[in-house]
């Protein structure tokens, strides 16, 4: 039971990250490696603020805002300096490593004694006794649902339409007399805002900031998005954002099951193999049918 709760918690926290990756990877068609830096960026800003005694809920907003800034930087590098998408992300990811160290002060900041969004008087009052094990899950769920609803609502606005159009057909956006570069920057900003928020929640749940916690974050995000969107491809009543969240939980469950059979150091290897398997499985099955016939 506790394993299932952990999987759901982790899956949902990374689900926020996956929502961000969904914006860049699926909507913008932009392989954004900034994620590996903006995820720990959320954690570092959270660690820095919480150790200075600030309200942990404020850190969530701050993390989102800082993530937006990081995304804008990636966007500016790509759009204004005309650097290729993959490279712009790598540049920002590399730069953010040092920036994260500056913000957090050291490579490792424990938050065991401080108040977090999961451990404060309000939470222990609400979730007393038998409910206590579910406190974290419920709080994460609330945050995730808010993010999802807001993102869904945004994608239905005029601005959201433009964002969807730019990844699909950027010439059309130019035809609509809009600067496609600005739309891309906006998309990257939103995406990294979400990723950074995920980092903040993750850091508070783990009660520690660790500089290398972002390594491989993009793989987790991509795997979640690909699992979600390909598993439920034919179920149109599910929104893409819902599918991505479910994909994230499935991915975390797969990793959790796999990791029990192996030693901890094979974690990244399992992640990589799992990602590869997902990619192969998610490829269009139509091709197979054709070759067999």
């Amino acid at each position: 039971m506790s394993m299932i709760i952990t999987i759901l918690e982790q899956g949902l926290i990374y689900g926020i990250l996956a929502l961000g990756v969904y914006i860049t990877y699926k909507i913008l068609d932009f392989p954004d490696l900034t994620v590996d830096g903006s995820f720990p960026l959320g954690a570092s800003i959270t660690a820095a603020m919480i150790t200075r005694g600030m309200n942990p809920y404020i850190t969530l907003l701050a993390a989102f805002a800082v993530g937006v800034l990081a995304g804008v930087c990636t966007g500016l590098i790509h759009v204004k300096c005309k650097v290729r998408d993959l490279l712009s992300g790598i540049i920002m990811m590399t730069a953010l490593w040092s920036i994260n160290l500056y913000i957090a002060g050291t490579a490792n900041v424990p938050l065991f004694s401080q108040e977090t969004i999961f451990k404060n008087d309000l939470v222990s009052g609400l979730f007393a006794g038998a409910l206590a094990p579910y406190a974290t899950l419920v709080i994460v769920l609330v945050i995730v649902v808010i993010c999802k609803i807001l993102l869904d609502a945004y994608l239905r606005t005029k601005s959201g339409f433009l964002l969807r159009a730019v990844g699909d057909n950027d010439i059309l956006v130019t035809s609509l007399a809009k600067d496609q570069g600005n739309v891309k920057i906006l998309g990257l900003a939103l995406a990294n805002g979400l990723v950074c928020l995920a980092g903040s929640v993750f850091c508070q749940e783990q009660r520690v900031f660790e500089i290398s916690m972002g390594t491989g974050a993009i793989v987790i995000g991509l795997a979640s998005v690909i699992i979600g969107t390909s598993l439920f491809k034919n179920l149109s009543f599910f929104k893409a954002t819902t599918m991505v969240l479910i994909g994230s939980i499935i991915y975390k469950a797969c990793v959790a099951i796999a990791i029990r059979q192996f030693e901890p150091q094979s974690m990244k290897l399992i992640t990589a193999v799992l990602f590869l398997v997902i990619l192969i499985l998610s490829m269009d099955r139509k091709k197979k049918v054709k070759t067999n016939a």
Partner: protein
């Protein structure tokens, strides 16, 4: 009114492959004119459209719209007044969005894309009506993704979308070339109807000499970055497809084709 004045355009400048396409190229299109442009491959037809729309820069010269110099204006700024339909039907629409969403996007051109609802329900009937005029049954498929439509249906939508909002110029870049003859005919008739209805100043590049003769009130033939034939009004009306074909053959022989 649209004017190209003393345009110089080089491709690959400063390299061994340098090629001069336009040298002191001039063209004036009056308000309300429907210009058909024909010419062989590489004669500069599409480059001319790209220069007008700002998709490619020029080395020298001026582009004037109603006597205002727009040479330095970015492409997306110029597009406020310009609607453009491309040869490839996929370019004019968004494949992963539905017909209704595409129409709503196009309907908002030139306005602010903010946080208000993307789809204006009050306009839905209007979209249905103009889609119905196409006679392609698209009005019954408002919630279908555009990516699953045929090339002809998408091109018809692209044409509608590019002319939905008030624009001054319509730029057609071989917009019937990728379609079957019947659909091409339909799109061409629709084009003519829209141009007349909205009194758009139109430049149409085409390889179909019959369309060039039948439609529009001015005809230009381009060859190696120059206008070698320019007929308007009565002269244009008296032209036959064979006349242009003869002219076309002459320049082709010159080039050794």
């Amino acid at each position: 009114m649209l004017e190209l004045r003393g345009i110089n355009k080089y491709y690959n400048p400063g390299t061994v492959n340098e090629m001069c396409l336009f040298q002191d190229f001039n063209l004036k299109v009056e308000k309300g004119e429907f210009v058909s442009v024909v010419g062989s491959n590489g004669s500069g037809k599409t480059s001319m459209l790209n220069i007008i729309c700002g998709s490619i820069p020029v080395e020298a010269g001026q582009i004037l719209v109603n006597d205002e110099d727009i040479t330095r204006q970015k492409e997306f700024v110029r597009n406020r007044k310009i609607g453009r339909v491309y040869q490839n039907p996929a370019v004019g629409t968004c494949p992963s969005m539905t017909i209704l969403e595409n129409m709503s996007l196009a309907d908002n051109k030139g306005r602010y894309f903010g946080l208000s609802r993307g789809i204006n329900k009050a306009r839905k009937e209007h979209y249905r009506e103009i889609l119905g005029q196409l006679g392609l049954g698209l009005e019954e498929k408002m919630d279908v993704k555009v990516g699953s439509l045929s090339g002809g249906q998408r091109q018809a939508m692209a044409l509608l979308m590019s002319t939905m909002t008030p624009i001054e110029f319509l730029i057609l870049d071989e917009h019937t070339a990728a379609l079957d003859p019947k659909t091409a005919e339909l799109i061409m008739r629709l084009t003519d109807q829209i141009v007349k209805e909205k009194q758009l100043t139109t430049i149409m590049v085409t390889h179909n000499l019959r369309y060039a003769v039948e439609y529009g009130n001015r005809l230009i033939m381009m060859h190696q970055g120059d206008c070698i034939l320019d007929k308007a009004g009565k002269d244009k009306q008296n032209m036959e497809t064979d006349d242009i074909l003869r002219q076309f053959n002459e320049i082709s022989i010159e080039c050794g084709n």
